[in-house]
Subunit: 367 residues, 4 copies
Amino acid sequence: MAGSIFGKNFQVTTWGESHGKGIGVVVDGCPAGLPLDEGKIQKYLNRRKPGQTRYSTPRKENDEVEILSGVFEGRTTGTPISMIVYNTSQRSRDYSEIAQYFRPGHADYTFDQKYGFRDYRGGGRSSGRETIGRVAAGAIACAILEELGISVLAYTQAIGGIAIDRSKAKEENIMKSPLYMPDLEASGQAEILLESKMKEQDSAGGIIECIIRGVPAGVGEPVFEKLDANLSKAIMSIGAIKGVEIGDGFAVADTFGSQNNDAFAIAEDGSVCKKTNHAGGILGGISDGSDIVLRAAVKPTPSIARSQKTVNKDGQEIDVEIKGRHDPVIVPRAVVVVESMAAITVLDMLLSSMTSNMEAIKRFFQS
Amino acid sequence: MAGSIFGKNFQVTTWGESHGKGIGVVVDGCPAGLPLDEGKIQKYLNRRKPGQTRYSTPRKENDEVEILSGVFEGRTTGTPISMIVYNTSQRSRDYSEIAQYFRPGHADYTFDQKYGFRDYRGGGRSSGRETIGRVAAGAIACAILEELGISVLAYTQAIGGIAIDRSKAKEENIMKSPLYMPDLEASGQAEILLESKMKEQDSAGGIIECIIRGVPAGVGEPVFEKLDANLSKAIMSIGAIKGVEIGDGFAVADTFGSQNNDAFAIAEDGSVCKKTNHAGGILGGISDGSDIVLRAAVKPTPSIARSQKTVNKDGQEIDVEIKGRHDPVIVPRAVVVVESMAAITVLDMLLSSMTSNMEAIKRFFQS
Amino acid sequence: MAGSIFGKNFQVTTWGESHGKGIGVVVDGCPAGLPLDEGKIQKYLNRRKPGQTRYSTPRKENDEVEILSGVFEGRTTGTPISMIVYNTSQRSRDYSEIAQYFRPGHADYTFDQKYGFRDYRGGGRSSGRETIGRVAAGAIACAILEELGISVLAYTQAIGGIAIDRSKAKEENIMKSPLYMPDLEASGQAEILLESKMKEQDSAGGIIECIIRGVPAGVGEPVFEKLDANLSKAIMSIGAIKGVEIGDGFAVADTFGSQNNDAFAIAEDGSVCKKTNHAGGILGGISDGSDIVLRAAVKPTPSIARSQKTVNKDGQEIDVEIKGRHDPVIVPRAVVVVESMAAITVLDMLLSSMTSNMEAIKRFFQS
Amino acid sequence: MAGSIFGKNFQVTTWGESHGKGIGVVVDGCPAGLPLDEGKIQKYLNRRKPGQTRYSTPRKENDEVEILSGVFEGRTTGTPISMIVYNTSQRSRDYSEIAQYFRPGHADYTFDQKYGFRDYRGGGRSSGRETIGRVAAGAIACAILEELGISVLAYTQAIGGIAIDRSKAKEENIMKSPLYMPDLEASGQAEILLESKMKEQDSAGGIIECIIRGVPAGVGEPVFEKLDANLSKAIMSIGAIKGVEIGDGFAVADTFGSQNNDAFAIAEDGSVCKKTNHAGGILGGISDGSDIVLRAAVKPTPSIARSQKTVNKDGQEIDVEIKGRHDPVIVPRAVVVVESMAAITVLDMLLSSMTSNMEAIKRFFQS
């Protein structure tokens, strides 16, 4: 079955392998009339581009995006937007070694079992480069959401156990931290940890947090297409993510109803609001108008240079040391990927929510 | 948009409200030739039926399922299987009070915002009774998986912070514990906690764990229809779930690559295996042949009898005490729901995986 | 794979067999706030009910519909609407004969090949009774469309080669003709033909025409989800339909561009209109604001009493005479089914069209 | 909503406009292990390439396809196959004229109504060049079907009322006729007709017939995903198609059950066969093992040089003469498009049919 298409209204089809000709995406269902050019997309791609800091792979890729269709005279036409980023730094080194064994923590073994063989060059389709298509599509989703007053913001909440102190976290710090942490003190400590891990030829995991502001109440379709259900799928579909939580998440397991329930109240402007947001902005799978808050657990980069035990295709147990250009931590470059998948999902469900209500439909077609 | 349909091959459509005529489900895409009768379904429904222990609502519902179509002479025909459970205990009490305000932690407010009004009787569609359809469909999914050598097992891992001790956990204990905990000592402690919470008119949260054994390597479709992505959606779509994790889950954020990577090895029978299972049986979104392990965080029952602050439809802040028949903890009755959603998802993706490989397709049509 | 679900926004799931417990449908994605009761549905079901005229099977079925969910205090709630019609006239006669051979023109052989066996009682799932679910869902679609100023009208255009004279056709005649023909003279001639075919133990085919008025320009999604493409699928999915055409249909094959092109003009109210409607209201897969016109070819009832050659399950060639209660012509009872499928499709795509345009989306969320 | 994605297992996403940078397609869900290179695709594209005969537009396009992903070492990997054809002959002529009015028979008006504006250069997305993506994907579908013993063959059955004589039709003639007609005498007559139409600055319509051989019985999913229903959608989604029929199609309307039913018989090899094939190889929406036969009605090219009446964007009625490079008949170049869409559909449903039967599924996973 096909697995590279995401969404129902705003549909994202990604393609491409790490060392193929390029990576691309087709965005189908983008509303017509949105101002769009390569610059808007590039801004997002640059945030995941390699080589930005010493904590990301030195592989040199400019990751320059080209729009091939769906935009005319500076605006989207409503037809599919095809975008491509050519791979330019496919190293000529010999991949025959990696082809012969299964790297621990990678998809080598499972791809072989599923498909019979695999494009082993740099991980092929299971490479992190696959997320280029997600981010290019996410940039468009963010542009649409922005027009509707909705913002999506992701950042690093923790790396290797070093978490931000929320009292010290500031949004403006995020882009100042090479790790995209809003608390620069925690960022500094995490950098020290990463330096030590790099020396040990090891890698670290972490947590990404994402806040979506401005989503009106009423988005999400009970009972299976709940907003939190689709966000979970979207985020968990990113390589290296092993957990997703909404609002207080796993902490709710240890609390009691009297603590966890968010009391409703009347805001100064007379609207209904919540005094707390343990629910993370979603009740019964539908947005409640509060900030939507989610977190994703990112595993340590599986490619590490220190010796590991594995098996080869001949069925022998062997020791391997993974060479190549790898990030000591996936988290910082995944921040914009989480942001992108969250934006795509929220947009997709926002569009779905337009058909919930007969009166709203009537108004739409009468205007 | 529609939200009550789940799956691509094995498609589950649920319907019904807490106090409507009944709750039902249509299972479309069930393969023909599966032996099936009401007894097989009822066994699963009985596990979520109310009134089984003092920790569940005393609402009296037999929840007897009737198969209306799709089964002929004891076997599934390949056509849709429609199943219904009639509601019998719709209390005649006055719901006009609950209709006027928004219960904290419930979907009252979001349903009203989305649809303009709601069926307020017992939570309507957002009631836990909605899961009857999921469990009836899950029972069929489990029956199919069983024929293929795959088992799905869920149980309570923790309640209100009291977790099982894995060294003491035994599968045979699960059905002995009124809380479905495999460690009876932890179960006893959790019961004490619940008694105290019931006295305090409060409720508790917890964690459900699910293990799926026997899934062959190769199930899951990169990059968006990954097995873990779809499991996350399935589990998160259950009411009251606020977090999902696979394998080590959120713990990976604090570990390092050298710890988290599972080394491959050669098993005694010559097959490839893993020495550890931090990955929870899924690599690159594809099953690796190991046990698939997931956990879900369940929030405390939002309906509590103690006084809470909220607002009414007239825009006034009020204090409310939620009356009615409510569980002090959702976890035990949700165990079979998690099991059901996991089974539906794994089956659906197992069927999808049949078309991954040209050689396998050729063999299929030649045989 | 599942095949009993239709639509993307307004999703219709049907279930049930001719001689099972009943026939039903779940409508998911119906907007909230639509006034609805059984009476509205029943009116449509009565048009396909057997025993209305001497040209339909004398099987006695009241086909009374019951709404089981999704409607509260007289209005749809936005949650799935489950409807059921119980089968009451499952004759106790012995079906073991029909179970042993494949009726010509029926799905007996193909069901056996696909599923390994079949529910042979009255055709099981491939019976015309399956369309009850379509019509019940179609009634809801029509009710929604009516609120939006859109009407769907189907009627018999020809039976056994006897076609209506368009100069004599009047909408008010349709319900006066036992064959639902708007030209009563043609209807009378067709009745004479049917009498003669009944005597000959034979059956006749025909053509159904459907006109959809009031669809705004802009409905339909290039390039695969074109309005005409989805209408074709919807209509062709009805049993016994062997051809579908839009506007001039197959006649375009014999015409030339100068004849077939519809000239645009300015209407008296200043709006753009077309002087002719060869296109049948659809250009480039998108509605153009003119009437949408389609026709469907219906094959003669395959069940005929006269002797036919076929084979049995033992691989022997045999002669059979199909007994039972069968219509000499399918067309009249299929009229409301065509109307229903057209309504469901147009509604589904109308809802899809709401997300085509950025400005319209902005207006929607600002209002 | 998105409309440029087709299929459920073998999913085809097309993109591109007539005068944009290129036309492309992403094929997701192609099984791994299929031998594939550009040559196999190019062979199909060459059949729809312009400038092959005097009956097609003289626009010069080599339409050379490049595979960008999903193929490794000569075989498909199971991951998305991205293909691109760059536009090279975007004439620099001024399109500002065509931008100002709505061409009769084209999608100019409906695109404007739907999206608010349009890429008017050469028809933009509604251009016939859009079908390049369909044909590239169809070539892959055909390659897979071929491995399974299934062939798809389309040809011109009639042009401007001149139909082939079936007694004179030979498969080997198809590629000899510039109009792809299997009866060379009819082809000659049709050429004379076209010459005269070209002189009259007019265009002609016609009929394409398609025969699919080797499909096993059992493909197609009752009741909405019937094989004929999906074929109808697939074919009707091609621009300029106004009608689709299966087997005897519209002719069934004039026949009687005793004529139209296909008698089953026992073939020499002991298998079940049909003595005739009025049904066109599909019974109850499921393939019956006979040849699948369908026909599509193609309208005359709407772009004609002779003067036509239309309106401009200022709301004025005007006379226009469409300049540019246009085919006097669409039929011949659409033959391979029909073949492609038929192949994609049959393959998609063939893959779906793998999950119909419990025994077959068990065998699959045990082998």
